[in-house]
């Protein structure tokens, strides 16, 4: 590392593995918010999302020696968080709609506009009715703003299969929104 330069993810990972455990806080600080919104929209609850992000960082610490590309810590961490979100969603499916309504209502207080708030709430509830795969591709493209190519690279899949998943998601969202209109 050059003197005065910001340490890379690889520098920090290697330092942590060499025994400087407290340096791990730098990685957490650097990436804790990057996927916070992804987790919140996937789980429909800000509290559940915070627990998931925390747990994913603890798991990543435990498995740090298995991070094959330390300079791409964040890509590797995203996959751990993703698994955690999918598992959590399977576990807490029965209670999700109420949590989602609460978390979206809280977010809308800063936004104003009862109609906008109602549309957001309805879409968030409809998102939770999708399969996790469908919801994820919608969140990554239309909430996180990634392209199909970027999502395909991150999830190691093809653009064609992502589009198929997304197009099913569009139809299901329309169905859900009409049923609850």
């Amino acid at each position: 590392m050059r003197p005065g330069a910001e340490p890379t993810d690889g520098d920090i990972v290697r330092a942590v593995l060499a025994g400087e455990r407290e340096r791990y806080a730098q990685l957490v600080e650097r990436y804790r918010d990057r996927y916070a919104r992804y987790a919140a929209r996937m789980l429909g609850s800000a509290d559940a999302a915070e627990d998931a992000v925390q747990d994913a960082f603890v798991r990543a610490f435990d498995q740090l020696a298995q991070c094959k590309e330390p300079d791409n810590f964040v890509g590797w961490f995203f996959l751990i968080l993703r698994n955690r979100c999918f598992a959590e969603r399977r576990r807490s499916r029965a209670t999700a709609p109420l949590e989602a309504a609460d978390s979206v209502a809280a977010a809308d207080r800063t936004d104003g506009g009862a109609e906008t708030a109602e549309r957001r709430r309805a879409l968030q509830l409809a998102l939770l009715e999708l399969t996790p795969d469908q919801r994820e591709v919608f969140v990554l493209k239309h909430v996180e703003g990634l392209s199909y190519g970027q999502i395909a690279e991150r999830l190691s899949t093809s653009v064609a299969s992502l589009k198929m998943r997304m197009h099913r998601a569009y139809d299901r969202l329309r169905e859900q929104l009409r049923e609850h209109a």
Binding site: P7, E20, R21, E22, R23, Y24, A25, Q26, V28, E29, R32, D33, A36, R37, A39, A40, R41, A46, A49, E50, V53, Q54, F57, V58, F61, V104, A107, T110, D111, T116, R119, R120, A122, L123, Q124, F138, H142, V143, G145, Y148, K163, M166, H167, Y170, D171, R172, L173, R174, E175, L177, R178
Partner: protein, 180 residues
């Protein structure tokens, strides 16, 4: 295709491959409905400032939980060795144990440690900040036994260790407890 399915061209609109103006006139209304759906996606940023502290506290808690299991056999062997070799040293002071104290306090200008081991002197044991991070550490050699302590942030704020059990100090504050 059911009544709920969007037309394939409308899906291309949603994917960003077409604009509303490029849709045939008869699909414009459906296209507008589809765009309203996308506009309802909640893109409000989410911040989790407490996660750094929570992660580091969880890791520290676990490390401390593990330590007694590692230390117990070592202390037992040391005690047996002392009894066997040097019975006269039974009244010797307890062995020293090296302990690292860690506090995540990104906004702090200074952090120190006050406790039973330094007569609660808030200036005696400063912690060192690790680079530009908010992680403060101090490594001490303390006699085996029980110690009470707290962190002192910016010379004023007394903060119990989030990763350790705490007891009431009888004056309205909480002291952290470390058993070695």
């Amino acid at each position: 295709m059911s009544d709920h399915d969007f037309h394939p061209l409308v899906k291309q609109l949603l994917d960003g491959d077409l604009t509303l103006a490029e849709l045939p006139a008869e699909l414009r209304a459906e296209g507008e409905e589809a765009l309203r759906l996308l506009a309802a996606a909640d893109r409000t940023p989410v911040s989790m400032p407490a996660v750094t502290w929570r992660v580091m506290a969880a890791l520290e808690r676990r490390r401390r939980r593990i330590r007694p299991w590692l230390l117990a056999p070592a202390l037992a062997i040391a005690a047996a060795f002392i009894l066997w070799i040097w019975p006269a040293r039974l009244t010797a002071p307890p062995p020293l144990v090296t302990v690292r104290f860690v506090l995540v306090a990104p906004d702090a200008k200074a952090v120190s440690l006050a406790g039973t081991f330094n007569q609660w002197d808030a200036h005696a044991t400063p912690l060192v900040r690790a680079g530009a991070t908010g992680v403060w550490t101090a490594t001490l050699s303390l006699p085996a036994g029980q110690h009470q302590y707290a962190f002192v942030v910016d010379g004023q704020r007394w903060v119990p260790d989030p990763g350790a059990p705490a007891v009431d100090d009888g004056f309205g504050r909480r002291n952290s407890v470390l058993t070695l």
